[in-house]
Symmetry: C2
Subunit: 356 residues, 2 copies
């Protein structure tokens, strides 16, 4: 790695052990061995088991490897939605899942509030088979609360709930009992290069997919029953991104070794000092007004000096994120992922005072 | 890399400059930069241009980045086939494309001959909109001839032709004028880890997709018109496998530097000595009977001593491939990719004499 540090919300800074594991992977020929070999089956098993432990997945929740969170939207739509889904939207990524559903000719519906706003109505049309929720809306730094998720589960026990945990996993605790399916890409909080997605699906999802398969196409190699058939043998239908699956497992194990509780305490501490800094700074203001909904992993501030701030930090080799989409020039975004040390975040806070 | 050499037909030996480029990529933060940055747009452009030159693609043929050849089957089916395709099948991979089409509820048809056999009838039902052909059937070592492809094009000028060039590109010359769409994964002849697929589509494909989109869903982020919209700006709809796209470009440039003609001459020479060795060996016999249809990049021999041969070479750190599927224990497969030196292939031939 260069001597820069990336605080961008993804792609972001590589996990601090990434290079070491990469060297080991190449030395051990991980990219050259057969994806059907016992050596690779062991890799698949280790990565899966580390993720189950790290994410605290309950019994009956399976893990599958895709290539991105975008693909997870596609697979959820193909496998789990016959006619309609409902989406809670307050930013670009929650919106995109809805857009994908309509592109797949689903008659989906939405509850939309202004970007970064919080939801007050929990109404979901009866026809919706699945509810799409975004745990951490990376575009604006909004977090969907665990209580809100529990509330949705309570009101709609018969609908599937799909939770976007991109840039949330593994930093934020999630009660998966309130969720049927979830997904993330690895270039956010796991500190990996982009190109691998993880899809979690429980037994109810499998039942829905098998029922749908009776009179609909679920797609082909990544139809859920096919993923499960191979997954139960710690295999994949196709030749997967073997190298990244190995690396993800190693990083998950490192975080377990470091202690999930410590990692989450550190996340909370770093988020607190970043938010404090935004509150106190004359040129910055919180974008998400509701304090409890502010993201711990993606701190987003409104500012009229976005370009100036980014350049100031860039000169010091510290790469902060600009705003997403329409907010490109009015926001700064600062990622707070497991690889970002307390010291580096304290440095960001100290330096920010110098750009007033 | 370890001191083994992989002659498996993919995943296979990494390209000999792979590690050097990987180090450079990490040093230059390729996995951490934004996929919307000018730096990454430059990477996309360089990789695309190197591939266009290396594969000698005609004007009007575009390159898109997917995650595997399996995904390319899916995208071709979703974007280019309304009701039916026809598939020439003589091995496991040509068969799989047909299977994918039927899983997507297409009424597809096939011309099937025994594994490794050659085709004598070129009949294709009128209803077929697209013809699926496999340039190099990796499972059995059969090559579809350029004359056969030209013949198909001549008989069916109005149908789209999809050519599987997995383990063929860039080793075998292909006249893309006889083809509308083609695809490969990078863990074969490009000597990369698995997890990236390349999809080539010409103008006719775009016209078909745009027409289909009038009353059908083409999928979402990787609908062809969407790929083209982003691709025309050297971008992708989603965050792609940025690291592998960079590495593929570097390897393509290395092969161009070495000389495409030399690489192909070397391929022919190495294939000739491997085939000669199979012809002369008391324990080996060619699986593909038609001499001109024998693959140059995946030499496949029938043998009753498969396990013994593989173990003999493994002890010397030389990893040959076993047979595919039902032929697992009756075949050996030897990859002949650009990274396999003439000396290493000569060594295989010399050593094979010692296992008689």
């Amino acid at each position: 790695m260069s001597n820069k540090i990336y605080f961008t919300p993804g792609p972001s800074q590589l996990f601090y052990t990434f290079e070491e594991h990469l060297k080991k992977a190449i030395f051990n020929d991980i990219p050259s061995i057969s994806h059907r070999s016992s050596a690779f089956i062991k890799v698949m098993q280790e990565t899966t088991e580390a993720l189950v432990e790290l994410l605290e997945l309950p019994e009956g929740y399976d893990i599958y490897f895709l290539n991105s969170a975008n693909e997870a939207w596609d697979r959820i739509i193909q496998n789990l939605i016959q006619s309609s889904s409902h989406h809670f939207i307050n930013g670009a990524f929650s919106k995109k899942f809805y857009d994908f559903a309509t592109q797949h000719a689903k008659e989906s519906t939405l509850s939309e509030v202004a970007d970064g706003g919080t939801f007050s109505s929990w109404e979901v049309p009866e026809k919706a088979e699945l509810i799409g929720v975004t745990k951490n809306e990376t575009s604006v730094g909004h977090t969907f609360l665990e209580e809100e998720l529990e509330n949705l589960r309570h009101i709609y026990p018969d609908k599937l709930i799909a939770l976007d945990i991109v840039s949330a996993a593994p930093s934020l605790p999630i009660n998966f009992k309130n969720v049927d399916t979830a997904y993330f890409s690895v270039q956010k909080a796991f500190g990996m290069p982009s190109g691998l997605g993880v899809w979690i699906a429980n037994k109810r999802c499998h039942e829905v997919a098998i029922k749908r398969a009776e009179n609909s196409s679920l797609g082909s190699y990544r139809a859920l029953p096919n993923l499960k058939r191979f997954g139960s043998k710690h295999q994949t239908p196709e030749t997967p991104n073997m190298l990244f699956i190995y690396l993800l497992g190693q990083i998950a194990k490192d975080i377990l070794q470091m202690g999930v509780k410590k990692m989450r305490n550190d996340t909370t501490y770093k988020a607190a000092i970043l938010n404090q800094m935004v509150s106190n700074h004359s040129q910055l203001d919180h974008f998400v007004t509701s304090k409890e909904h502010r993201s711990k992993t993606t701190v987003v501030a409104k500012t009229e000096k976005s370009g100036e701030i980014l350049r100031f930090f860039q000169k010091k080799g510290l790469i902060l994120g600009d705003g997403y989409g329409v907010n490109k020039e009015n926001h700064i975004r600062i990622a707070n992922f497991p690889t970002h040390s307390k010291e580096s975040i304290e440095m960001i806070c100290d330096l920010m005072d110098k750009v007033e």
